[in-house]
Amino acid sequence: MSTKTAAFKPPSRKLFKRNEIWGWLFAGPAIIGFLGFTLGPMIASIYLSMTDSSLGFDGNWIGMAHYARIFTAEPFIWISVRVTLTFVAIAVPMHIITAFFIAVLLNTEGLKGLKYWRTIAYVPSIVPGVASMFLWRWIMNPRGLLNAALESVGIPGQNWFFDEFWVLPAIAFMGIWGIGGNMVIYLAGLQGVPRSYYDAIEVDGGGIFSKFRYCTLPMMTPVIFFTIIMGIIGGLQTFIPALLVTEGGPNNASLFYGWHIYRTAFINFNMSYAAALSWIMFLVILAITAIVFATSKHWVYYEGGESK
């Protein structure tokens, strides 16, 4: 009818208004969820952390006393910080290098059964964390599959989860199982690298190493940057292995900060102190993320040329 003949007309005020309403309606559940279930509890936990309450909100106001204790008298804080940072230092590079390596392999053109290899590499990461944890507990048991395999080739087995030295590397190793997500991200990134760049390097006489060093790696830095950030945040929050496998032991060797918060809140029922511990964790994660972001301008390459 009229629209058929009319030239382009800017949307009427009424239509704009109606679209806005619909926009809010669709975004509404997410916004309400965020306010009610994330932001609200976060703000409440600031208040909670300044009381001496064990359960609920009926404690007395004690101001910054919990925070003072965390930095002066808390005996587990430095153990758990050391454990958590050590774990991140082991796990993040281990997972990123492995995922990247596998992604490069799975990006090989003409590889036979490529689709199947990619699926096999990704499938473990969709197994729920708790289920895979039980599986690995069994595999890495002192009398489990891994030790049997090692011993069959003459390498002595270890008490993986129950040895102070091995427990963190063992948990990090177990995490390789879940790198499928990162691998897919890398794979997507690798396929976005223009073919012509490789051709240019070939023309200049560069080999496979030069292609990787001067083209693949720089082009992939934004993706690597993203996965490092996510890896660090995830690593700092590690908690399930302690809950299901080690309970922070042996001798505090896997006392993850996240586990320390959990046991303070749900085993020792000291909610207010756990809330204070959580806020310190939040600030530390924020700070570390900011630091990684700050370094990014020196090594992350954006094609748009905004920085290099």
Binding site: P29, S54, L55, N159, P250, N251, R263, F266, I267, N270
Partner: protein, 462 residues
């Protein structure tokens, strides 16, 4: 079309909002005019079935008068409880973990039940099954669960070694106990730990095993003259010579005599390690007997060794309490008393080996009542001595630390790693002493933060 979409979206949202509102304020509506009670509990399938049977019997007998609704919490009981309390929606009656009893009592969540108890009731209950706060009874152990030594009698028979004793008066001395454990510790070549060719690195059967837990170690410590608290009951006493000596003995059992695995080694044991001969004796509690009863080996029960002050036992139970928010505490008590009776609904759970009554009168002392739940294959004859006789010797019961150390979980944060360290690594006496002194210092430094002791259950004996 657009109208249809609009309508659908609106209806969906309205339903979502309504659903949320219902979920927030929802509670099962009372059926009829009579009161309903919520009973919240945990436990495996057997326990769940038994509790449901008890509830069914109780409801049938009280048709039209009161109705109990069982709420079985399969996982994260503490979190569920915590959420209910924070939301102001407590159960009427519920299990509570021993370690959280004092937090809940001190915050006013538990009801003092003294006025509900029939006259003389407390005299019928095993002494350490009564949970007090500020002098008032606020809970009873859900079941009595005395720790003792369980052994695989087949292993002793196979090696021609006499069984460990089950009578208090016959308890082995420390040296006798070590010697007995050595004779049933066997390496891959069949040599026992006293044999000159014994290979301590390839052990098939350890003589003894215990987890690196404060409760289990305390059985040795108390018999060795150690106490959890110091003389004036103001602090723990882990740096006392008796505690250090006990911990050194544990270290020697593992790393010198090799009759016991390190905690790490014991993680590698097969399923059902006692039946499968991974060890010949171990410290365990009542709750294990039900599983033992279904396995194919001859179970024996023995008393702990006597390190100078007689054999000791301890009962680390769950607690059952009525909640202060309950509108019908009398009815809750009525249900509780009903549940305590071995013959109401769950006899097979007592007879099967899971529950043990907390009332010694009549269930331990009256032969007919005793036979109702122990005259069966799940209960070897030695059980009556190693468990029931010991449960009625107040001077030989280690008071459960959770029953007087408020915030016990936080104390264990210090102690458990130290026990793991001492049991996990070969150490000299001085190194053990240093570790225990460090632990005690940490507890002293943080005592003010972790709160106070509760003297009710402590004064007679620490």
């Amino acid at each position: 079309m657009r109208k249809l979409v609009t309508t659908l979206l609106t209806v969906t949202m309205a339903l979502a909002v309504l659903g949320l509102a219902a979920a927030c304020g929802g509670s099962p509506a009372a059926s009829g005019d009579y009161p309903t009670l919520t009973f919240m509990y945990w436990g495996g399938l057997d326990e769940q079935n038994a509790v449901e049977a008890i509830i069914e019997d109780f409801n049938a007998q009280n048709e039209g008068r009161v109705r109990v609704i069982g709420e079985h919490i399969a996982a994260d009981f503490g979190t569920v409880m915590n959420t209910r309390l924070a939301a102001g929606n407590p159960p009427d009656i519920a299990y509570t973990a021993a370690g959280t009893f004092y937090t809940m009592a001190s915050e006013g969540h538990l009801l003092a039940v003294d006025h509900l108890l029939p006259p003389g009731f407390l005299d019928t209950v095993v002494h350490d099954a009564i949970w007090r706060y500020n002098g008032q009874v606020m809970g009873f152990s859900t079941a009595q669960v005395n720790l003792m030594i369980y052994y695989n009698a087949d292993i002793f028979a196979r090696h021609g070694v006499e069984r460990p004793p089950h009578r208090f008066d016959d308890a082995l001395s420390w040296d006798q106990f070590v010697n007995l454990a050595q004779r049933v510790t066997v390496d891959r070549n069949g040599n026992n730990a006293l044999h000159p060719d014994f290979n301590p690195n390839q052990i098939d059967t350890f003589g003894f095993n215990t987890g690196p837990w404060l409760n289990n170690i305390a059985l040795f410590a108390y018999s060795n003259g150690a106490r959890m608290l110091n003389e004036d009951l103001t602090n723990t006493d882990f740096d006392s010579p008796e505690w250090i000596d006990t911990m050194y003995k544990m270290n020697r059992l593992i790393h010198h005599y090799r009759v016991m695995p390190t905690p790490a080694e014991s993680e590698g044991f097969p399923e059902n390690p006692l039946m499968n001969g991974a060890f010949a004796m171990s410290i365990g509690g009542r709750w294990e007997m039900m599983a033992f009863a279904q396995l194919d080996f001859e179970l024996g029960c023995a008393v702990m060794p006597n390190l100078g002050h007689g054999a000791f036992t301890m009962s680390p139970p769950g607690v059952t309490s009525i909640f202060a928010g309950s509108e019908h505490p009398e009815l809750a008590w009525e249900f509780w008393e009903f549940k305590m009776d071995v013959e109401n609904g769950a006899t097979e759970l007592y007879a099967g080996g899971l529950w043990q009554p907390i009332q010694h009168d009549p269930w331990y002392t009256d032969p007919a009542a005793l036979a109702v739940w122990t005259d069966n294959d799940a209960h070897p004859a030695s059980f009556r001595y190693a468990a029931l006789d010991m449960a009625m010797r107040p001077s030989q019961i280690v008071p459960l630390p959770a029953s007087y150390l408020v915030r016990i979980g936080e104390h264990q944060q210090y102690v458990t790693p130290a026990i793991q360290e001492i049991m996990g690594n070969p150490m000299t006496f001085d190194q053990v002493a240093e570790t225990m002194r460090t632990v005690q210092q940490q507890i002293t430094d943080n005592a003010a933060f972790h709160g106070i002791f509760n003297y009710d259950n402590v004064l007679p004996r620490r």
